[in-house]
Symmetry: C2
Subunit: 384 residues, 2 copies
DNA sequence: GATCATACATTTCCTCGGGAAACTAAGGAA
DNA sequence: TTCCTTAGTTTCCCGAGGAAATGTATGATC
């Protein structure tokens, strides 16, 4: 509870431990630039309050000198619930301080009415809270709700959600009163980016982007440890980069959007045309392509090409150290990975091509974990 | 000289005055969140060293209470020389603390040999220094050299310059020894962005982008007061966003690059084809288009469309508060402005279209002014 | 096995930055 | 005049963190 009012050095030490795992005090001092004395002083209250724990000796002992003691964040010190809201279901996860999932839950949404969704969230949170109690876990500290669209985390308002058709819904406040637990909300992709930044493939990078491929194509951008929000709430709209040619029309009304070519919907639709089977599913399309169906393969290959152009655009503009590709669509990733990399390499300008492309599967609860990460982040990095 | 070792509050006050012009101490305190006492304490040494001056009463007097005293940065306290290096000439400018130009100079480059360029820079600096002496100005504090390509400002090295065909040239060191004056170097577009951020249309914005149209098409991106550098030295490569269709081949070998369609070179070339006159100049093309030549107009309109797609890409990814369009190419801006705005509005996703598009002419010395701004910035914002 | 060297950790002391609040300054209004 | 209001200054104080002396636990050395 007292984490919020630590001196700057305290927060710095805590975040260093969070990002880099168990370290000795001396090592923490070196990495943060703090003096040894300051580290000791600042770790004392964190230890006393149980935010960090001593772990004993490091695995690789030093040749001589007094042996060091590892300290690490005490992940169990606080619990969070993360909830991802989609158009038709809720995904919830109970997680610890390091956003490790302890339990998950899903529930279908009967309607998209605000009151109904809030009620469903409260029920889901109750479920997870009960599970936490059963596990002997302590009280849930706060809730992080994530949702696609234009979300203002400062005011806790969903400015606009296309999937739910919501406008200016004070969701944080509503969930807070329905559950009695402090709640923060955030855009789903940005929450995922926060999770990657603190606990995933973005740890320690000066800049990186997370691209998610699924029903939509989204992107979170982190530069210098801060996730880019966009002055008007919009950022990372990779799905609507106009690099896809003129043949397909996007839901936004334009031609050329990446989403109109490379989203799972778009691929399925194109595969149906290519195969002549109007009821073809994504799984079947993948199977056909793997079996060598040229027309269907071409669909994946074209999608890969457009994705490559999109990633090259990100690299050319931002120059991130790494781009993390993730999402349901990654199930069929091997089908177009080569094409993505090839197109990316061709269109990334100069040293931008040194950008590291990595693929990470995105388990369904990962989205919800992002919510927990955002909730946790408010605790230890209460900036802004 | 003592500006570098001011306490944080001192730097904050100075930067506030730099960005927002003359203010009363009370107002400075309000804007920075500092207590009145702190403002007084911190301004005292700045006044004593001549970094700021008192300006007397504000224009709009307050109804009651003690009259306030304005304080403002003393622009003449320090001089800087900014130099922009292109493939065939040098542009130099003598500027004050606020990067206001006091004198300019140009010189042609006989060869692109490193030694020759360094010598030419030293001569140009000498010229401007003499002019400063004649004006009774004080010593030049430092030099900022800007150059397009991959520039590492930390080490003072030009990693790669396509126009000059340089690789790993320690330019800062070379100019420093040749002139005897401390020198910093920076990528030209990023330097321009720094100038806009501190002294131009980017003052006070949480994020903005500067797009320059000319022989190449470049872009500087500023987010949260920091100019994005790219992990591998590449960022803002708007010129190579692949949104331009497949019909024209770029110097980088790809099709679809913005630069292959909308740079001044590309427009001239396309206008020549459209008009059938292989010796057509840009000026003549502009005249033809203004006169109603449909084919030439179409060239400008297509370039505008592709520029609109590029700006929409920037807006969709970053969500800047404003995009500043600038460059030599802007001479013919009215010819395709409508098309740019129309395409931008169509392809900027959701609230990203609220991004403010402004056009600023780019006088030839503006590039060099960027160098002076970078040099000045090192003085008052000596971060990293 | 006593001593030493070494590196980790703690404690003590001190400096410095900036806030709180009392105080001074300078004008207008009653 | 006196009072009110806002600007600016001074004084006092507290908290954060660095420097350096001190304490501590190990292996190495004689």
């Amino acid at each position: 509870m007292t984490l919020a009012d630590q001196p700057p050095a305290g927060a710095l030490v805590f975040q260093t431990l969070l990002a880099h795992g168990p370290l000795t005090r001396a090592e923490v001092g070196r990495r943060t630039g703090l003096s040894p004395g300051a580290v000791t002083k600042v770790t004392a209250p964190l230890l006393a309050d149980g935010w960090i724990t001593e772990l004993g000796r490091p695995a690789v002992e030093r040749a001589n000198g007094r042996p060091a003691t590892l300290i690490a964040v005490h992940a169990g010190r606080a619990r969070f619930v993360g909830v991802k809201v989609t158009g038709d279901e809720l995904i919830g996860v109970l997680a610890d301080l390091t956003a490790q999932p302890l339990a998950t839950a899903r529930t279908a949404l009967a309607s998209r009415d605000v009151g109904n969704v809030v009620l469903a969230i409260a029920r889901l949170v109750g479920e997870l809270r009960a599970e936490a109690d059963a596990m002997g876990e302590r009280e849930v500290h706060s809730i992080g709700v994530t949702i696609s669209g234009d979300v203002d985390g400062q005011t806790g308002t969903v400015q606009y959600s296309p999937f739910l058709d919501w406008r200016r819904v004070p969701l944080a406040q509503l969930v807070e009163t329905a559950t009695g637990t402090p709640t923060v909300i955030e855009n789903d992709v940005r929450a995922l980016t926060v999770a990657e930044q603190w606990f995933g493939a973005g740890v320690g990078l000066s800049s990186f982007a997370v691209v998610t491929v699924g029903a939509g194509i989204g992107c979170g951008i982190s530069i210098g440890g801060r996730v880019v929000s966009g002055a008007h709430g919009v950022s990372g709209e990779v799905g609507h980069l106009p690099v896809g040619g003129t043949d397909r029309v996007c839901t936004c009304g334009n031609t050329g959007c990446v989403e109109a070519v490379a989203s799972t919907h778009a691929i399925t639709e194109q595969a149906r045309q290519a195969s002549g089977d109007p009821a073809l599913t994504m799984d079947e399309a993948v199977r056909l392509a793997h079996a060598g169906d040229g027309a269907v393969r071409a669909v994946f290959s074209h999608a890969g090409h457009v994705m490559g152009l999109a990633l090259a655009s990100v690299a050319n503009l931002i120059g991130p150290e790494r781009i993390i590709i993730s999402g349901e669509g990654v199930a069929s990733y091997d089908l177009y990975e080569d094409q993505i990399r090839q197109t990316f390499a061709a269109h990334a300008f100069g040293a931008a091509s040194e950008c590291d492309l990595v693929v990470r599967p995105l388990p369904f609860e990962e989205w919800a974990r992002g919510g927990a990460a955002v909730a946790a982040q408010r605790l230890f990095a209460p900036t802004k």
